[in-house]
Amino acid sequence: MPQDQNLQNILNQAQKAIADADAAIVSSNKLIQDQEKELVKSREKYEKEQAKVDAEIKQIVDDMDVKTLQFLKDME
């Protein structure tokens, strides 16, 4: 164990910096994972909602095509 107090302080600072960096990286990885999960969840919800509206638009378009063709028939 070093006897020099200055050296001891330097080593303490170094060890703390290493430990804090490790903790920050662990925390950051956890955050990335959480964000990843959140993004997947919100994207799934987003795609589901958009698909629902798209399906409604498709239905509107299909119905109106039938009406238009029927209109053409009526006007023959």
Partner: protein
């Protein structure tokens, strides 16, 4: 509800692996996209429509096909909103209206012709009746009578004429009913077209709203990502300081033996930690850039949806042309201002007039009651500033009011500037620097941009990404830039640096960095000295 052959690329079922890969900046796994056979008839995926189509006469089929040419090409598009709007053009075609008008006119003509025929029959009956009366009178005068045979012949003729009249009356009624049915069908169809226009517009508005929520969510992730990067940058600074101290001790004190060995071990650990921190920051940057690109992509989608909605319900003609739409007489209320509702922003002005923001349109009513309507670029920053200052932006956000992204972004920037100014701003926070806050020079902007990125990314990364900006000889280093010019000048310089003619053509990473830089600058988070 069936959604087979849906002409959109957005898959109905989410692909979690793809999303995860995108989040991490990796190449997403390949998907088997649903193939859309654009060569088929536009109604092939719609059996009820196909059934009616098959009963049409050739000329009607020809008309339908002609109208659908544009949409058939549109099926190659992957944008369902655009596809629906193109389809609307088919349903709303003048040629269909003309066909209906022609048909109704031909029926009206037919009714008219048959009514004339009926009139003819009635006259014939009258003439036959009066002929008989004359004959009877003549014969009575001569002391004679009509023979029973002649009487019978006459009765038969009259019966036949009455029968013909009755038949003609029936024919007229049938034709009139048919005419009414045609008119009703034409009206019903016109109403259906109007209803479908609203239906599609409503769905497009819903898609925009879903996008807005996604933008909000992704923006929050961007902010969290940024905060996390700041934490790691702080650790990196601590790490650098520790390394400096360890190295300094080794160089100055020249320790030996166990002390040296311990110091070297710690130095190695610190260097490993620095590498790990830098790697982590880089990963976060990649993710942050992806998220920023996601936000921009969604904003782009909303801009397209707005264009599509404008096609269905075009804005007032003059406003669209970019001119002052209408300057009403005092007291005369415009059609636009009649439609003010809860989502609109009304701001009183010191002169007694008012300003009302309805979507992208600003109605300014002067103290004399005179009304002016402005839109887009016509609306000045000062006017938007008044709206923002009155809390209008918060209200717009709370009400989820539909408006152009450009206008919204302008208001956001103005809000940031107002906040920055009211808080003093970082570059005006120190005493005596208030006047300097509005006097950012070109030289300072470039220096700030460069130092910010070197500090944040390291020189190597900055060089690698070609981010360093230089002042050109032709540029005045002391050129003072107003707050609203900063963005423009920076974007111009970055575009030039990236050798593209527009900032929007730069890759998302650089655009994202510019956005972050300007935001932090506006929020006063950057040191300007």
């Amino acid at each position: 509800m069936t959604i087979e052959n849906k002409p959109t690329i957005e898959p109905l079922n989410p692909a979690s692996e793809r999303i995860k890969a995108e989040f991490r900046g990796q190449q997403p796994p390949k998907e088997t996209n649903p193939t859309v056979d654009v060569g088929t008839e536009v109604i092939k995926s719609n059996p009820p429509a196909m059934e009616v189509y098959n009963t049409l006469r050739p000329e009607s089929k020809g008309l339908w096909s002609g109208l659908c040419e544009k949409v058939r090409a549109g099926l190659q598009k992957t944008d369902i909103g655009q596809w629906a709007v193109d389809k609307f053009d088919v349903w709303n075609s003048n040629r269909l209206e003309e066909k209906a008008d022609k048909k109704v006119a031909s029926y009206e003509e037919e009714v008219k012709r048959m009514e004339q025929k009926l009139k003819g029959k009635e006259m014939e009956i009258e003439e036959t009746k009066s002929g008989r009366i004359k004959v009877e009178a003549l014969m009575t005068e001569l002391g004679s009578k009509i023979s029973p045979e002649d009487q019978k012949k006459h009765d038969m003729l009259m019966g036949s004429l009455e029968e013909q009249k009755k038949q003609t009356e029936t024919d007229v009624d049938i034709k009139k009913k048919a005419l009414e049915i045609k008119k009703d069908k034409a009206n019903e169809y016109a109403q259906s077209v109007e209803a479908v226009k609203k239906g599609i517009d409503g769905r497009l508005a819903e898609k925009m709203s879903i996008n807005d929520k996604a933008i909000e969510g992704a923006s929050k992730l961007v902010d969290t990502n940024k905060a996390n990067r700041n934490v790691l940058s702080g650790e990196l600074e601590k790490n650098s300081s520790a390394i400096t101290r360890v190295e300094g001790y080794i160089n100055q004190e020249k320790p030996k033996g166990l002390d040296l060995e311990v110091l070297r071990k710690e130095l190695a650990k610190l260097e490993k930690a620095r590498k790990d921190l830098s790697g982590q920051i880089r990963e976060l940057e990649i993710i942050g850039d992806r998220l920023t690109a996601e936000v921009e992509k969604l904003q782009g989608k909303n801009a397209s949806l707005k264009v599509q909605r404008d096609k269905l319900f075009p804005p007032p003609e003059a406003v669209q042309k970019g001119e002052i739409a209408k300057s009403n007489q005092p007291g005369e209320e415009s059609e636009l201002s009649k439609g003010i509702d809860e989502g609109d922003i009304v701001v009183g002005r010191p002169d007694g007039g008012s300003m009302t923001l309805i979507g992208d349109k600003l109605i300014i009513v002067g103290a004399d009651g005179k009304e002016v309507i402005k839109s887009g670029e016509q609306i000045t920053d000062d006017e938007l500033g008044e709206i923002v200052r009155s809390g209008g932006l918060d209200k717009l956000e709370a009400e989820e009011t539909v408006m152009s992204i450009k206008l919204y972004n302008r208001m956001k920037l103005i809000e940031q500037n107002q906040k920055s100014e009211s808080a003093g701003g970082e570059y005006a926070r120190e005493s005596g620097k208030e006047s300097e806050a509005k006097k950012m020079t070109l030289e300072k902007l470039i220096a700030l941009w460069n130092s910010y990125h070197i500090k944040k990314l390291g020189r190597e990364k900055v060089d690698q990404d070609n981010l360093l900006l230089d002042r050109e000889d032709s540029e005045d280093p002391k050129l003072e830039l107003a707050t609203e010019d900063l963005k423009l000048v920076l974007q111009k310089k970055l575009a030039k640096k990236g050798e593209v003619n527009k900032f929007s053509k730069l890759n998302g990473s650089v655009r994202g960095r510019a956005g972050t830089f300007l935001r932090e600058l506006a929020e006063g988070e950057l040191q300007t000295e």
